[in-house]
Homo-oligomer: 209 residues x 2
């Protein structure tokens, strides 16, 4: 923990242990990458992977994000899962339940081919475990057009809010409903993809409802 | 459209019309605010609201994001909804279905009390329509501790991917399952909040499953 990552607002919601931060990073496969381009901030949503203390993102070698990240610039990567809307009796104490992780590090282009192949598998596994082995592997042309950036998780913090509304004592007698609207992500396979001659692969079965 | 907002990768997924961009902004209540703090990029997840060509975010007057945004600095606000994982026969053509909007503008602190009150209602309505009128309104002390920033949607773009995998012709005969894992957000009210003496308010009823 240092001044950059310290959770300044509602410090009791801040977490700095690896276990918590990595759990939040691993439960989502989508992140937001922030970087500075010609002096102004840019935030780009993209898929990602994690292995040990590294985050990996990939993209076309022609993408602005990849080109900028290849220069070793500072990046800020956030992962957020919103799990509920919290309704208090007072407008002021309305809130959200969420888990978020914020990672600071410098991007670095992976140039070693073995490391690049490993990183692509990490990203694939992070999004859908086991799919890498099922799919046709990248050929030389595809690999040439794809760049992979690694970002060391050098500084990171997490912020978590759970539970119901917390109202002021003075508001408790007010006849106003207070509670939580819970938000869940539900996975399914649309029917149109269930009638192929190929059997549903192992990687996809966990998403069947 | 200008060089800052032009979707450079897969240009056919880019959209620049207000209708599309505002629809994406309005379907989510959570955004990521990117800004430059002491030279490095910071991305912070937070709730937001939109009215006409303005985005509104609020926070404690003590928050770093709010303090920085009050200085009129450049910000980049993104809103993303991921709707599916797209599995192709080749690893290379795996993708995601999503809708995202990226807005560039300069933050501005709202100092007028009437405008601030209006903006807080816009944020509240954006998150849960009608709740503002049900809840106990903010008092002077709460308003004093809350800052609201407006950001004009001066430049924006959207990116959308929908549909199934698109494989190379040469891969079509491969005996590999390809399809989509669909992701839906499901809202519900946990039982523990359904047994109050206060009746479920109108704002919350749409979230009942």
């Amino acid at each position: 923990m240092n001044p950059k990552t310290k959770v300044k607002r509602v410090p009791k919601r801040g977490h700095y242990d690896k276990e918590t931060i990595y759990r939040i990073l691993d439960q989502e496969f989508f992140c937001q990458v922030g970087f500075v381009h010609e002096g102004y901030p840019v935030v780009i949503p993209t898929g990602f992977g994690r292995h040990e203390d590294w985050l990996y993102v990939h993209g076309s070698t022609a993408s602005r994000m990849i080109k900028d990240m290849s220069q070793g610039i500072d990046v800020c990567i956030t992962v957020t899962k919103v799990t509920g809307i919290v309704l208090a009796k007072s407008a002021f104490h309305h809130s959200m339940n969420y888990e978020s992780a914020v990672v600071f590090g410098k991007g670095e282009l992976i140039t070693d081919e073995v490391e690049k192949d490993f990183a692509l598998k990490v990203i694939s596994d992070h999004i859908i475990k086991g799919r890498w082995e099922e799919a046709r592997e990248p050929n030389a042309k595809e690999l040439k057009g794809t760049a992979v950036i690694k970002v060391p998780i050098s500084e990171a913090s997490a912020k978590i809010r759970t539970g119901g509304p917390v109202d002021d004592k003075a508001d408790e007698p007010l006849p106003i409903w207070a509670g939580v609207v819970q938000i869940d992500q539900v996975y399914s396979i649309p029917d149109e993809y269930l009638s192929q001659k190929e059997e549903l692969p192992a990687s996809v079965k966990p998403f069947m409802t």
